[in-house]
Symmetry: C2
Subunit: 447 residues, 2 copies
């Protein structure tokens, strides 16, 4: 194609030789984009991308790659040390062998582009250290939020900004399910079945609906926003499996949507050493908040900075083409920076204190199924009071056996709310404790 | 502050000496941020920013700048050639003397950060050429969308992406006015008065409400998205002065919001030389489109890429602190890139063909005040038909003297719609032609 952003008329194009590790959905999309739009990329970016070699796991598997067969190998280790290759793109996923291959590529003096959230959320600190040492780029725009240019926004554009909090809808499957429940009143299992039917959910949806995928992305977001060593194990995590249609109904009546949010926030006081909170859980988002309008399988990340104010970046968080687009952007950036003095690795990273979830202070939504008789509310309210959890609103729905109390608390401490629930469980008049949802609280302590 | 993203523990900080031209709202906010958060910036970004000198227009004007008085001068020209300065920040605004000073700084080998949309939209091609020639950065994140990191997203992250269309709410004043009209049913003049009262509108609001500010930003967006030489004079422009409360009412009933959009789009066919459309006008945006939810004085830019799909970036488009935050991000980027091999100037730029507005194809909303008698609709419909403008929906509201016909057309050519209006003006039964609003059409030709 000739149309599009036009060519540099300057000197000859620089040719950048790419070694591709892994050739599934994203790798295949990337190869196809480079093949079909190579001249366009050269024209817009002044770089000719030559995919020199591709590593696949199983050479015997039939595939129709837009690349000569003699460039395809099952020996990924030979690619990372190949002197004919400038940049390695890692799209294998998982921890090993991806980790060893990325480390090997960096040690061999190659810049690396990866979309591997699991690897970054587990071995990020080790990889960034290796990249610093090698003086090479380690870029990973595609690892969080697919095509959304949020990694570069946080790590370059907002590098000087004191970031207070980042809240993200970073998993398309769960957002699809929650949107379906919200818009059509579906139950969780109906919405999950529909997501599976449409290919938005895997056969085993645990990684998505259990919040594991989102917690890896939360760790990466925290690492970038606070230049901190944060791994997935640091993240408090709840999935959406327990969210009920009734909770979403109540949320609507109270003016909220329910979203699975990854929240990373600075919680230290002015002058104190950096402490951050990192958590993933279903959250009540006010209907007029920009995150509430993010529907279907879209992703979005909402950033609160002290000077920049509120920012949101929105787009396609998954899929072959959007993810390949983010990899391509990194590839072009890495190509332009080959030989740059300072490698780009997300900046210096430090150990930080992680605030225990018990210390979270926010507002809570919770429901209790109770016996509908005089004195029950008093008994329940007494338990709240004993733990210093103050109630902002209460509504009873249903009568008799079907009576349910719906509470919204004022700002409360997580440990106090959990202790309240524990005591309520022993109250004879309470037959069931339903969904516990946290609200988007005010911004955390401005450190 | 110690909290925030933490310091590089590596070598000594690099000190970057900044010359600041202009010290109004944004300049003052920048100085204050550098003063109060200097250690934080150093910790997060590994750069110590030293504002070496500041140029103001009138030394006699009393001000309390957080900088020694002997660093303040009214001789801006001396700053741009000062060998003690590494990066010049231009916050004077307007064309001269800003243009000469920026050119002078680049020629003196300094990188330049500017927030000057008017200058870029007028003299952009000349400035970028000077930057290329000098091998220095010319960064301007703050010129469009304030704190929203959209310039870097388009020029770096999406540099390889074939962009089809960018649609932006890039003027906070008009978005505030239209939001007020939409949410409270205010008239245009009431909403404008409220905007003036709250400081969202200038004493002379023409630049905002007339769409001039947005058209400068449209030119800059087009320049980046298509690496094209586009100036404000290339942009088709309409303001919001003629938008009536009744139009917004109808829009709501039909499922739309009215927004002032800057639209830049690639309109060339596959293989043909690049042609783009660049326009600013009030637009009917479907209520479930992400741009429809951008309320108040917020800005947002919606990007459609062939591979990346739909992206949106949202945030504070104006104000001292948000704009200073964007300037700061550029300053840190420029500081890190001092001595880089390849300057960053927004990429190679080329002359492109601008599609005449007459050739626009979209859907239209229009209203006619008519005499309420038999045969009028037939006469009106005949005029539409004669110009090949096909009607998708028609509704009559009011009766007798107050009868109004509200039309939505199918996709139609601008020239045909204008010819239709011209003929309708001569139809005796038509007493008044009301608002003409364009709808967000489908994506343009995929070139």
């Amino acid at each position: 194609m000739v149309a599009g952003r036009l060519a540099s008329t300057g000197g000859p194009l620089s040719v950048v030789r790419v070694g591709l590790l892994g050739c599934g959905t994203v790798g295949g999309a990337l190869l196809e984009i480079v093949r079909s739009d190579g001249p366009g990329i050269a024209a817009r970016a002044g770089v000719e991308l030559e995919v020199t070699r591709v590593a696949v796991r199983d050479l015997a598997k039939p595939r129709s790659l837009p690349i000569d067969a003699d460039r395809v190998t099952d020996d990924a280790a030979s690619i990372v040390v190949d002197p004919e290759i400038d940049v390695v793109v890692e799209l294998i996923g998982g921890i090993e062998p991806a980790r060893s291959l990325v480390l090997g590529a960096l040690r061999a003096g190659k810049s690396v582009v990866t979309a591997n959230k699991q690897l970054l959320a587990t071995s990020g600190p080790e990889l960034f250290e290796a990249a610093e040492k090698a003086g090479r780029d380690l870029l990973y725009e595609a690892a969080v939020g697919g095509a959304i240019p949020l990694v570069r926004a946080l790590s370059v554009s907002l590098r000087g900004e004191p970031i207070q909090r980042v809240m993200g809808i970073v998993n398309g499957t769960t957002n699809y399910i929650l949107s379906k429940m919200s818009e059509e009143g579906s139950s969780y299992s109906e919405a999950l079945a529909e997501a599976e039917r449409l290919g938005f959910a895997e056969a085993d949806p645990t990684a998505d609906v259990g919040g594991y995928d989102a917690s890896q992305k939360a760790a990466i977001l925290a690492s970038i926003a606070f230049s901190a060593d944060v791994v997935a194990g640091d993240v408090y995590r709840e999935g959406i499996e327990a969210v009920e249609a009734a909770d979403i109904d109540f949320a609507h009546r109270l003016g909220y949507e329910v979203k699975l949010l990854a929240v990373v926030e600075q919680t230290s006081e002015d002058g104190a050493p950096l402490e951050i909170g990192v958590r993933v859980h279903p959250t009540m988002v006010p209907s007029d908040h920009p995150l509430a309008g993010v529907r279907g399988s879209f992703n979005a990340v909402f950033v609160e900075g002290r000077h920049a104010g509120e920012l949101m970046l929105y787009g396609r968080g998954a899929g072959g083409q959007p993810t390949a687009s983010a990899v391509l952007g990194d590839l072009i950036d890495a190509a332009g920076r080959l030989g740059a003095a300072e490698p780009r690795t997300g900046g210096a990273r430090h150990h930080v204190a992680i605030r225990p979830i018990d210390e979270l202070r926010t507002e809570y939504y919770l429901t209790l199924d109770v016996q509908d008789r005089p004195g029950v509310l008093a008994a329940v309210a007494t338990v709240f009071g004993e733990h210093a959890v103050s109630i902002r609103s209460m509504e009873q729905v249903g009568l008799g056996e079907g009576a349910r109390l719906v509470f919204i608390t004022h700002l409360a401490r997580e440990a106090d709310v959990q202790a309240t629930l524990e005591d309520l469980r022993h109250l004879p008049a309470v037959s069931r404790i339903g969904g516990l949802l946290r609200l988007i609280g005010p911004e955390p302590a401005r450190g």
